[in-house]
Symmetry: C2
Subunit: 139 residues, 2 copies
DNA sequence: CCCTAGTCATTTGCCGTCTAACGATTGATG
DNA sequence: CATCAATCGTTAGACGGCAAATGACTAGGG
């Protein structure tokens, strides 16, 4: 089994578990913080726009939005000028999560990268960036 | 949004898509190659053993095994000495996938890391390794 | 002005993954 | 030797994710 692919997949599992438990503290599931982040950046986005921003398909956003609106994090409303569109709007509860969730994520990133030297951190980012780009080109 | 966590999650999405399409060429779904790899290494493993080797829960292996046995990649058989145990055995079809799948994975790894210098590749592994370890400790 | 082609969101169905509940078997203990 | 705790696999149900099919609405062309 190839070295990098293998290590990356194991790391992904660990990180996912970590993010999962961190986000559950705020009543969120894995990925929902990203959807919220998209709305924090630009409230009232359409499922299609958000899906593109998150690099995810539209049905994924639709499903998540349904669950998140069920727990009162956001609301759905059709666009007034184009009835094909739906816009997702944050509720106060959704807005209120911004600070704690962003802090949680920063905190996690720090703990995770604590053992790295500044050089390692920088090189890790450029190397991962290259791989991300190469992968995207192959897609 | 933290730098590394963000880049890592984007990279994961890309890599998953890549692995997915690569494995689909052999009639596999994401993750099933790992299950097969475990059996290639040691045929007749129990769901629990395999789950531990893959860093995944037992139910996940059970479900995958059900689907994979339905398409004839492996068979289930109860252990003769301990009827609580179930052992998964490769079929010829499952064994036959070994070379092509391993080649596919090596090929993908090469293409993905082609842009990296030898130094970058080495540092990437040690840095990712540190993160993997730090994450595991936090779990 | 109507009809068609394009654009969206949604639904459906599948897969991997997890946690929690359930069921069966083994083994140790009194 | 019978019972009870530990050990396994399986099932049930939830979630993120994807592809394909469906349905509603808009806009452009005749």
């Amino acid at each position: 089994m190839p070295e990098f692919l293998d290590l990356h997949s194991r790391t992904t599992k660990v990180l996912r578990a970590l993010v999962e438990t961190a986000m559950r503290r705020h009543g969120l599931h894995q990925g929902q913080d990203h959807l919220l982040a998209a709305l924090w950046k630009r409230d009232g986005g359409t499922p299609g726009e958000i899906a593109a921003a998150l690099h995810v398909t539209t049905p994924t956003v639709v499903k998540m939005a349904t669950r998140m609106s069920a727990v009162g994090l956001l609301t759905r409303r059709r666009d007034e000028h184009d009835s094909r569109l739906v816009r997702l709007w944050l509720t106060d509860a959704g807005r209120a999560l911004r600070e704690p969730v962003e802090a949680e994520r920063r905190n996690l990133e720090e703990k995770i990268t604590a053992d790295l030297t500044e050089d390692e951190r920088r090189l890790l980012m450029t190397a991962l960036g290259k791989i991300h780009k190469a992968g995207g080109d192959l897609l």
